[in-house]
């Protein structure tokens, strides 16, 4: 009997392995922000922050905060040598212009067609899309970062999104706390699973079409 235990850290650690040196990456607020903590030491990516910066560095140490230097979530941050600042039009020009290689963002729902919903639960919670619609439409590769299940037990991977969409058919990769999926051909293709789960269990518990690829393997991340 496998019991599901939510694990955001493993999601961040797996996403951190996707990038190669020189990639321009935008990490959403929340879970995706954690990815920066797990980037391999031999990989140097350039983090873009949509409020107007390339070369986003670590959080500012207590006592060194600068009111004019924040990330898109209003947290005090730093900028790395070689980084630069720009206005919001340039920032989204970088995003829509295809100059961002990867965007990793949190979701409410993602479906097997690559549709994504993350900005609105009608009548209940309406945070707004912020920069998410541009990021998802403009980035070369879109990574959905999410726990596999809701608190209710329903899978966040769906056959079809039920909430208002943030973007249609733009998601390329989904990393959850049970596995790593590619979204292609109208289904989720399972490429890796995390212990203690296994492909059969993942297919059974997920209300969506999943193809277990021949190359599918157990991740060495624990």
């Amino acid at each position: 009997m496998i019991e599901y235990v939510e694990n955001k850290e493993i999601i961040a650690r797996r996403i951190a392995r996707i990038f190669k040196t020189g990639d321009v990456v935008n990490l959403g607020i929340g879970l995706p922000t954690l990815v920066a903590n797990y980037l391999p030491e031999d990989v140097t990516v350039i983090l873009q922050s949509e409020n107007g910066m390339l070369g986003l560095g670590p959080a500012a140490a207590p006592g060194t905060e600068d009111k004019d230097l924040t990330n898109a979530g209003n947290a005090p941050v730093t900028i790395l040598p070689g980084g630069c600042f720009f206005d919001s039009a340039t920032s989204f020009g970088i995003i829509r212009g295809g100059h961002v290689d990867y965007t990793a963002l949190g979701i409410l729902e993602v479906d097997q067609e690559g549709n994504l919903a993350n900005y609105k639960i009608p009548g209940k919670m309406v945070p707004g899309m912020g920069g998410a619609m541009d990021l998802v439409a403009g980035s070369r590769v879109v990574i959905a970062a999410t726990t596999h299940f809701e608190k209710s037990g329903a899978s966040k991977l769906k056959r079809r999104c039920t909430l208002p969409l943030t973007a249609a058919r733009e998601v390329d990769i989904v990393v959850t706390d049970v596995g790593y999926f590619q979204v292609l051909g109208g289904k989720f293709r399972l490429l890796e699973w995390f212990k203690p789960y296994n492909p059969e269990w993942i297919v059974e518990k997920t209300d969506a079409d999943i193809e277990v690829m021949g190359t599918c393997r157990c991740s060495d991340i624990e």
Binding site: N51, G52, F85, G130, D134, G138
Partner: protein, 226 residues
Amino acid sequence: MVNKPVISATAAAALVKEGMTVQVGGFLGCGSPDDVIAAVVAQGTKKLTLVCNDSGILDTKGGRSTSVAALVANRQFSRMIVSHIGTNPETQRQMNSGETEVVLVPQGTLAERVRAAGNGLGGILTRTGLGTEVADGKQKIAVGDHVFLLELPLPGDVALVKAKRADKAGNLQYSKTARNFNPLMASACALVIAEVEEIVEIGGIDPDQVHTPSIFVDYLVKAGGI
């Protein structure tokens, strides 16, 4: 060069009249014209339309309020055109109760609509929002093999922007991520009021380092009082 009038935040707030569309720079409070906003709160002008990245941070438990959050709490907007309201539960409440009309615009589209208004463009074409509610009722235009949404210019009556430094002519220089929407809004409004931390002599800013040309700016307000 002509010197721009340096006025108090209170005098600046008096230029904001009932029913105006007000564009406010800043991103969740970073780069927000806080003194002028406080003066508009004190003045209590109603029925304003807001154009801003967000509706500020309103944290009633922590007692923290940033950007336009105090204006929202004071119910001075009848309409808000913003990309994000997730950090201000009062905005969500007013929207759900129907007290205030909230139009959510993707952040990059908001930036470009403001820029278009200031730059003499009839609109912009973007893929952002295709296949979502954002596309409802909007014209789609095919260019070659690609379909785009037509998004229209978004001008304002008055811009309240924040800069690090101005010279007396009104040339502006921003600081770090406090730049965000400020230079765009300074181009897009009939009247532009810049709150600045420092005012230097003409020539005190290297012309190569000016972010907003002086001709966009009508009034300067010195942050922290004159």
